[in-house]
C-alpha cells in the first residue's frame, strides 16, 4: 500500500502507469493518468502534496470546498460576544441558533458544488440581520453546507481504490473540519483589522462576514470548473454511455435502514463528530466569559481545538488501518471504543478545569482523541454495507449532526446549566453512548467481545444484500470483489494460510474461483 509496488494478477494483467486502455464497451480511450490506477481507473496511491489530474485535484478541490463550508458555518461563534450585544441575544437565542446551524445538514443531500453555492447567500445575509430570528435563520441555512461532507466522502470513494479510500477520506474529512478551527482565528483577526481601519464594532463584524462568503463562492466556482465526478469523466455522461448501472433506491434504502450497525455508528458518530460541532459552537464564548480573555485570544484558543484536525482525524484513519492489519475488524472496533472513551474522559475533565492553562491543555488532549475517533469511525463504516455504502455513510454523517443538535438542546441552550457543567455532562454522555460499539458484530469477523462465527464469510455477508433474482443478473459482482478485498479484516490469524499478500488487492476481473 505504501511504496507504489506494481502488482501482477493471476490473469497476467499489469497495472500501467498510464492507461491507454479500453473501457467496458471495448472502445479505446485516450485517457492518460499521472497516477497508477486500478481497473475502475481509481487511484491506487495517495499523493498528498500533488495536484495530479483528476484524482489528487479532486481531493484538493474537495477538502478545500468543505473547509470553506466549515469556515462559514462556524464564523459566528468567535464573534458572538459582539453579535449578542448588537442583536440583544439571550443565551436561549444563542443556543437555538447553534442548534439550527447543525440541524440543516441532517436532511440535505445535495451535491457539493451546488450546496456550496446555494448556501452562500445565507452567509451574506448574516451581514444584514437585525434580530435573534434573523440570526437563527442565517445560521440554519449556512449550516446546510455541512452536508457536503457526504459528497466529499462519496467523491473520494469514486476517485480512490479501496486500500486508499480510508486515507483519502480521512484527509478530506479532517482538512475540511479544519475550517471549524481556522474560522475562530480568521474571524476575530478580520474583525480587528476592519475595526482598526475605522468601522464601529457593530458594523465591523458584519463586514467580516463577507470573507467566508467570498471563500465559499470562489471554492465552489473552482470545484465546478475544474473538478470531475469520476476518473473518466462526469457522472451523467457516463450514465448515458451505459457504464454505470442504476440501482433501485428502494432496495438500497431497505438494506441501509435494516442494518443495525449503521444506526449504532450514526449514534456514536454523534458523540465524536457531533461533540466536535458543539464545541466549535460554544468554546470561544466559554473561554471569553469564564477566563476573561479578549476576543482574539478566545479565538486562538478555540481555533487550536479545530486545528488539531490537521493530523488527528487522518491519524485516526491510519490507526484504524494499522489495527486492522494486526487484529482485523476487532482491532478497528476496539481502537474506536478506546479513543472515543478517552475523548469522553477528557471532556469531563475540561469542564472541571478552573485555570486557563489547564483548560487549554485538557481541551487539546480532548480534541486529539475525539477527532481521531471520527477518523476511526469511518474506518469501520465502509464495511457495514457494500450495496448501501452511500446511504450508511450519509446516516452516520447525519447522526453526527443529530448528536450535535441533541447535545446543544440538552446542555447548551438557555441558562439551565453553566457552560462548564454542560461540558462535563456531555463527557458523561459520550462515555455512555460509546459503549454501544460493543454491540457491533460481524459474523465473519466478530465483535469487541465475541469471536467470529465459524464458517461465516465476508462473501456471505455482502451477498445477503442481493436477492437470488439480482444475483442471476450479476448485479452483485462488485460486492464479491469487495468481499475479497476485505480478507484483511479477518486479522492475521484468518489470513495465515491465504495466498493473498498483506495488502488488499483490487481484483481486476472475476475471481478465478467463481
Amino acid at each position: 500500500m505504501e511504496g507504489g509496488e506494481k502488482i501482477s494478477y493471476p490473469l497476467g494483467i499489469e497495472q500501467p502507469a498510464t492507461a491507454a486502455s479500453t473501457d467496458a464497451n471495448g472502445m479505446a480511450t485516450e485517457t492518460r493518468f499521472k497516477m497508477p490506477v486500478d481497473s475502475d481507473h481509481k487511484a491506487t496511491e495517495f499523493w498528498l502534496f500533488s495536484f495530479a489530474k483528476p484524482h489528487m485535484r479532486a481531493f484538493h478541490l474537495s477538502w478545500f470546498s468543505f473547509f470553506c463550508c466549515f469556515v462559514s458555518t462556524f464564523a459566528a461563534p468567535p464573534l458572538l460576544p459582539l453579535i449578542r450585544d448588537n442583536l440583544g441575544l439571550t443565551a436561549t437565542d444563542i443556543g437555538n441558533a447553534g442548534i439550527a446551524s447543525v440541524s440543516g445538514a441532517v436532511f440535505a443531500r445535495l451535491a457539493m458544488g451546488t450546496l456550496t453555492l446555494v448556501t452562500t447567500p445565507a452567509v451574506y445575509y448574516t451581514s444584514v440581520i437585525r434580530s435573534a430570528n434573523g440570526f437563527l435563520l442565517a445560521r440554519f441555512f449556512t449550516g446546510f453546507s455541512l452536508a457536503s461532507f457526504v459528497s466529499t466522502q462519496f467523491w473520494m470513494s469514486s476517485m480512490f481504490s479501496p486500500p486508499k479510500v480510508g486515507i483519502a477520506n480521512g484527509f478530506a474529512g479532517g482538512w475540511g473540519n479544519l475550517g471549524g478551527g481556522a474560522t475562530q482565528l480568521i474571524m476575530p483577526l478580520v474583525y480587528d483589522l476592519i475595526h482598526k481601519i475605522g468601522s464601529t464594532n457593530f458594523t465591523a463584524w458584519r463586514i467580516a462576514f463577507f470573507i467566508p462568503g467570498f471563500m465559499q463562492t470562489v471554492s465552489a466556482i473552482l470545484l465546478l470548473a475544474l473538478g470531475q465526478d469520476m476518473p473518466d469523466g462526469n457522472f451523467r455522461k457516463l450514465q448515458k454511455a451505459g457504464d454505470k448501472p442504476k440501482d433501485s433506491f428502494a432496495k438500497v434504502f431497505y438494506h441501509a435502514v435494516t442494518n443495525y450497525r449503521g444506526w449504532i455508528t450514526a449514534l456514536t458518530y454523534g458523540y465524536c463528530f457531533g461533540v466536535e460541532l458543539t464545541i466549535d459552537n460554544i468554546i470561544a464564548q466559554y473561554f471569553y466569559d469564564r477566563f476573561s480573555v479578549n476576543l482574539r485570544t478566545a479565538g486562538i484558543i478555540a481555533a487550536s481545538f479545530g486545528l488539531a484536525n490537521i493530523i488527528s482525524r487522518p491519524g485516526g484513519g491510519l490507526l484504524s488501518d494499522w489495527l486492522s492489519d494486526r487484529f482485523g475488524m476487532r482491532g478497528r472496533l476496539w481502537g474506536l471504543w478506546v479513543m472515543q472513551t478517552l475523548g469522553g474522559i477528557f471532556c469531563i475533565l475540561l469542564g472541571k478545569m478552573g485555570t486557563l492553562s489547564s483548560a487549554i491543555v485538557v481541551m487539546i488532549l480532548f480534541s486529539l482523541f475525539v477527532q481521531a475517533a471520527c477518523g476511526l469511525t469511518f474506518g469501520v463504516v465502509p464495511f457495514i454495507s457494500r450495496r448501501s455504502l452511500g446511504l450508511i455513510s450519509g446516516m452516520t454523517g447525519g447522526g453526527g449532526n443529530v448528536g450535535a443538535v441533541v447535545t446543544q438542546v440538552i446542555f447548551f441552550k438557555g441558562s439551565k446549566y453553566l457552560t462548564e457543567d454542560g461540558i462535563t455532562y456531555m463527557g458523561i454522555m459520550i462515555l455512555c453512548c460509546t459503549l454501544l460499539i460493543i454491540l457491533i458484530h460481524f459474523p465473519q469477523w466478530g465483535s469487541m467481545l465475541l469471536p467470529p462465527k465459524s464458517g461465516a464469510t465476508a462473501e456471505d455477508y455482502y451477498l445477503a444484500e442481493w436477492s437470488e433474482h439480482e444475483r442471476a443478473k450479476n448485479y452483485h459482482i462488485s460486492s464479491i470483489r469487495f468481499a475479497d478485498n476485505s480478507v484483511r479484516e479477518g486479522g492475521r490469524s484468518q489470513r495465515g494460510g491465504s495466498s493473498h499478500s498483506k495488502h488488499t488487492v483490487p481484483v481486476d476481473a472475476l475471481p478465478s474461483r467463481v
Partner: protein
Amino acid sequence: CNLCESIHAVLYAGEDTITVTWSLDRTAVPAGGDAAYEKVKVLLCYAPVSQKDRGWRKTDDLLKKDKTCQFTVVEQPYSGATASANVTYRIKRDVPTATYFVRAYALDGSDTQVAYGQTTDAKKTANLFDIVAITGRHASLDIAAGCFSAFSIAVLIFFFFIEKRKVKK
C-alpha cells in the same frame, strides 16, 4: 405608581448624552472616612431585566467576577468631601440595547472599590433608563450582500446550463 416603573427614558447610542452628578453622602460616611478615596469611576450598569438569560452580564458579589457594569462613563480624581462633580457623557456607539442605571465607585490608591452610589434603589428597579444601540447596518452592506448572493446563484445556474449542454453532445 405601578406603571411608572415600566416607562423609561429612551436614549440613542452615538447621539444622546447623559449628565451624571455625584457628591459625598455625609450622612453615610463619617468625617475623615473618605481619606482613602482617590478616584471616582462612573459606569453604565445593566438592570436585572437585561441580565436575564444572559450569563455574560451576571452580577457576582465578588467584584472581580462581577459583570454588571461593563461601560465606563468617566474615571477622574476624587474632588473631595465638600464639592460635587458632574460629567456629561455622549453614549458611545458600542453600547448595546438594554435597560441601565448608573453607578459610581470610589477607588483607593490600589484601584480597589471602597464605596459606591447608584441612580437606582437596592432592588435595581427604580429610575432606570433604556439605551437603543446603533444597528451597525448600512445601505452599502445591504446592497453588497444582495449583489454577491445574486452572483453566487447566477454562477450556479451557469454551471448547470453548461453541464446540460455537455451531456446533450
